[in-house]
Amino acid sequence: MMKPLFLLFAFSFSAIAAEQTVEYAVRGLFQPDRKTVLSSAAKTLQNCRLVEVSYEKATATFAYDDEAQGFKKAKPEQVLQQIDNQIRNLTGSTFSIVPQSTLGEDKLERIDFMVEGLDCLGCSYGLYVTVEKLQGVERAYASFHDGRLAVFIDPTKTNREALAEVLKKREIKVVENSAKEETKPKN
């Protein structure tokens, strides 16, 4: 008698438990091949999974079981923290998850720089880290494959000159006329 009751209860519970999806901004997607790195690392996420990564928007969609450990009755910010912690641990903190910007794409301004001597992954990441944390920077891309730094900014908070000044201080040389070579980041 007890066994059928237990099964019925278990079935009811699993039917109630639902997979939720959330979309966050991703830090650390500075080069196209970083998308693969993130996807690979995310395979071992616990109680959640990576659904999709958008390199262009630098966002990722995650699905999680809202009854699973760490997510049960979790508030939205706790869900974010749970996923962020896991992502950081799995990637040596080279990726992190943050809330998406409230600023619409149409409000963003893209600024490009061609950077001299950008020739390795570490330097790309170093350059990305330098720029990405600046006030007014919504997202950035730095690739040693084409030597390009692309920065999406909130023009009300920063501008090209301010960014150029920071690069100069860090002794990062920028190729003249790089402003004219603005393109979308490659997939």
Binding site: G92, T94, G117, C120, C123, Y125, G126
Partner: protein, 911 residues
């Protein structure tokens, strides 16, 4: 109080001469008061003083009946109170031989007269018969005087072990070959040139407390505290491991990453655009790579290379393998190198002595890095707690690319590549280790559960994991719980174990009463609540701090079997005898010879070579000064180590090939590696290993006299002085130490600006009559050695600082990557005239002159070896015995024969 007895060799000698049963009584008596009634003691002292006084008066009267007129006639003219030539006033020199200073002066007077050196040749010659009579009278008086001295003081005082002996003895006893104990102990003094001399080996309360500390450390290492050995780990390390400087140096171009012997495309060499943000590179994994690391910059004050991937937790044996090769870097291209380069592998103790690991604590070895051929090297080493492996591109010039505009991409020059370094350990072939088995036999190691033994204190544990500097990839393997030996029958086990340990530690048979004394220590601790291990450990600690362990205990006259074995092993191994030596019948001359040969062939004989040369030729002072970088930019630690390696290998060769003593000053071969050969201008030597190299006939190198190590220890890092070097030759090579300079005569300071030469300054100095007689002997070999600079390079002109008005210096043998700023000044004049009036043009003539005096050279070396091996200098009254040793050796026989004859002589076999 007992420490006071230990610290006083004479008290301790008396203590030891008593039967064991009486020792305890005597110990009590000496602690609480004198053992003899006061009246009886005073009476003995009075009798002794009377005898001495009568003897002195007799000596004075008989000796000087012949001597005084001779001195007045031939000597006083120059050695009176006004002239005092050679700082000697014979008119006031009393014929009293009990005063050591007076005695030494009379010995010199005797020697000068007997050798015919005095009166000087320009003065009227005394009759040969008169010289003979005077020399004989003086000799007899001195012999008798010394006999009285020795009766008063004893021939050799009690000797404790030197620091090196102490460390080696414990290393061998516990089979822990790299255990570092020496640095814990206070430095030893020296007397008559050696630290083994009993006069130098005092014991203070500081020594005692440090012996306790050292014994504790040794026991910490020896006792197994876990049921199984800590897990052995094998790690592949890179100079780029986090915490080291390799990564940051790669950011600025002093290090490059190589893959398949090309610049690594994943981490291109630093160029005008240096790599950004080391932290970002580390996080993204740029240095977690299997790439080889190419190094251009040598270790210096601000740069050092450590394999930070492994910091030793558990002291012990470790296997190290590494793969090295060299290359020529040409602005991003990897090309064949200029030849084999050399890399240094060393142990670095990060926190031991406050040097913060700036320099390697000790070098394991130098290894070859051939051109574009990865070559694997293996070594087995002992690593102490918190030691790690250091590295250096030893043979490269001190270049630095960080200041170059295009960094590595603008550099063309040599580099050394490290593919990897692998470390495996701790390696324990048996568990518990041999040291533990010596202390606790095969008693089982079991977990100590406190609740099962509420009345017993558990053994204290050293927490290696807690004191470990966590900057590496190796991981601790801590043990859960407290594990210790268990004994079912503590007293019987303790007695059995002590009976096995004490004879080995004390290096002689140990009577039951002594074992009983240590057993009482054990029992007292057991009763006090200690566990078996702690109680027995206390007994062992007491033994390792006791005079029986710390002192060389020798009977008053002929050495016993065990004392002779100890004397032999401390001579040739600087450590205790092994079982074969301890059980050999060494009073049989043939067996003694066979054992001597065995000891000399053993690798441990290298300790004798290093310790003896360190003192005889002062090689311990090799790093006493760093040569001026502007005057001697080619100097490097690798060159310095190569110098020392030469002298050691040369002495080893003299012993192995039994070469005669003329080789001390002149030879047709040298022991060189590539670095030193280049320094000497000898071609055709490749690689870092020191080997025998035949020399061209006109090459002055070879003998000790012209070895770079000797030339460096006799210079001050900036200039050379014929006086210092001449005095060294007289003292160390010829065994005729000159008088110290009079206190009222200023030292001669060489002039590096080149306005006056040292020879010109000395000429003025020698015009002073007080100085001239000594300098006539000191200066000639010093002048001949002026052909060599402070780092042993051959020269015909002096180097001057860049600011002076000299000529530009040609590069010569100096590495093309070393900048030169010094100039060339006055010409060196290595010519002169010996005291015997023989003229010499240069060092070769001086070598021929010195080599023609094999008797003098043999006597000098024999004196040094006797002093080193017996712990006492050769005294005046030893001269007949010394003569016998020299006659048996003969001037044409070699150094090994001399060692044998010394060991077979009464010098060695009696106290």
């Amino acid at each position: 109080m007992f420490c006071f007895v230990i610290a006083n060799p004479f008290l301790y000698k008396r203590y030891l001469s008593m039967p064991a049963a009486k020792r305890r009584t005597e110990r009590n008596v000496s602690i609480t008061g004198g053992p003899l009634p006061l009246k009886r003691r005073l009476s003995k002292i009075y009798m002794l003083l009377t005898q001495v006084l009568l003897f002195v008066l007799l000596l004075k009267f008989t000796a000087h009946a012949n001597v005084t007129p001779f001195l007045e006639q031939h000597c006083v003219k120059c050695h009176d109170a006004d002239t005092r030539k050679g700082n000697l006033d014979l008119t006031t020199l009393k014929a009293e031989y009990l005063d050591p200073e007076n005695f030494a002066r009379w010995v010199k007077v005797h020697d000068r007269i007997q050798s015919g050196e005095m009166p000087p040749k320009k003065e009227k010659r005394p009759l040969a018969e008169d010289v003979k009579v005077v020399a004989l009278s003086l000799s007899k008086a001195l012999m008798d005087g010394e006999r009285v001295q020795l009766e008063q003081k004893g021939r050799i005082g009690m000797r404790r072990m030197t620091r090196a002996e102490y460390e080696n003895t414990l290393r061998d006893l516990f089979d822990m070959p790299g255990m570092a104990l020496q640095a814990l102990l206070p430095a030893d003094g020296t007397a008559h040139g050696f630290d083994k001399n009993s006069d130098a080996l005092e014991v203070s309360h500081v020594n005692i407390s440090k012996y306790v500390e050292a014994a504790d450390l040794a026991l910490d290492l020896a006792i197994a505290t876990r049921p199984k050995a800590p897990a052995s780990q094998k790690l592949r390390l890179s100079l780029l491991n986090r915490g080291g400087q390799g990564a940051s140096l790669s950011m600025q171009g002093d290090v490059v990453l190589l893959r398949d012997q090309k610049a690594d495309p994943a981490y291109p060499p630093a160029s005008a655009h240096r790599h950004l943000d080391q932290g970002a590179h580390e996080r993204i994994g740029s240095f977690e790579t299997e790439s080889s690391v190419g190094v251009f910059r040598r270790e210096d004050e601000s740069v050092n290379y450590y394999f930070r991937g492994h910091t030793t937790i558990y002291p012990g044996r470790y296997r190290v393998r590494t793969s090295l090769w060299s290359f020529q870097w040409d602005k991003g291209q990897v090309l064949p190198s200029r030849g084999t380069e050399a890399a240094r592998i060393a142990a670095v103790q990060l926190t031991s002595d406050g040097r913060g690991g700036q320099h390697p604590n000790y070098t394991f070895d130098y290894f070859d890095a051939p051109s574009l051929t990865p070559t694997e090297h293996r070594l087995e080493v002992w690593l102490n707690h918190n030691e790690l492996i250091g590295f250096d591109v030893a043979s490269l010039a001190p270049v630095a690319n960080y200041s170059r505009k295009d960094k590595a991409m603008g550099f063309t020059g040599p580099g050394i590549a490290v593919d990897w370094l692998e470390i495996e350990g701790p390696v324990n072939s048996v568990w518990p280790p041999q040291a533990h088995q010596l202390l606790f036999g095969n008693l089982p190691i079991e977990e100590f559960v406190a609740k099962d033994h509420p009345e017993v204190r558990p053994p204290p544990r050293k927490n290696w994991e807690k004191t470990w500097l966590r900057v590496s990839k190796n991981i601790p393997d801590p043990v859960t719980g407290i594990w210790t030996v268990r004994s079912e029958n503590p007293r019987a086990d303790a007695e059995r174990l002590l009976a096995g340990f004490l004879p080995k530690a004390f290096r002689r048979a140990v009577e039951a009463e002594t074992i009983g004394a240590y057993l009482k220590i054990f029992e007292a601790r057991i009763q006090g609540g200690d566990c078996f291990e702690s109680a027995l450990r206390e007994a062992y600690r007491s033994a390792l701090c006791s005079p029986d362990f710390l002192y060389h205990i020798e009977p008053d006259t002929k050495l016993s079997q065990s004392a002779l074995a100890c004397r032999l092993s401390y001579f040739l191994w600087n450590s205790a005898p092994d079982e074969e030596l301890a059980s050999a019948n060494l009073h049989n001359a043939g067996i003694l010879r066979t054992q001597t040969e065995r000891l000399l062939r053993d690798p441990k004989a290298q300790r004798f070579v290093e310790d003896f040369l360190g003192q005889w030729l002062k090689l311990r002072l090799i790093a006493a000064n760093d040569p001026d970088k502007k005057l001697y930019p080619e100097f490097s630690p690798y060159l310095q180590d190569s110098m020392v390696a030469e002298s050691r290998a040369y002495f080893r060769e003299l012993i192995e090939k039994n070469l005669n003593v003329a080789h001390l000053v002149k030879s047709n071969f040298a022991m060189l590696n590539q670095k030193l050969a280049a320094h000497y201008g000898v071609e055709g030597v490749n690689g870092s290993k020191t080997r025998r190299v035949e020399l061209p006939s006109d090459c002055p190198r070879g003998g000790f006299l012209t070895q770079a190590a000797i030339l460096k220890v006799t210079a001050n890092g900036t200039t050379t002085s014929p006086v210092v070097r001449g005095a060294f030759v007289l003292d160390r090579i010829l065994g005729q130490p000159p008088e110290p300079p009079p206190s009222n005569v200023p030292a001669v300071e060489p002039d590096v600006r080149g306005t006056t030469t040292i020879r010109e300054q000395l000429a003025q100095h020698r015009d002073n009559a007080t100085c001239s007689s000594c300098h006539a002997k000191i200066d000639p070999p010093g002048f001949a050695l002026e052909s060599f600079d402070v780092i042993g390079g051959q020269r015909d002109r002096y180097r001057l600082v860049a600011e002076s008005t000299g000529d530009p210096a040609p590069r010569g043998n100096i590495d093309p990557f070393i900048g030169i700023s010094f100039k060339l000044g006055p010409k060196v004049d290595p010519s002169g005239e010996t005291t015997g009036g023989e003229k010499f043009a240069d060092i070769r003539d001086m070598q021929r002159y010195l080599a023609s005096k094999p008797d003098l050279l043999l006597r000098s070396l024999a004196q040094s070896l006797i002093s080193y091996s017996t712990g006492r200098e050769v005294r005046f009254s030893d001269r007949p015995a010394l003569r016998e040793v020299l006659e048996k050796t003969g001037p044409t026989n070699g150094v090994r024969t001399l060692i044998h004859e010394i060991i077979q002589s009464p010098f060695f076999q009696t106290r």
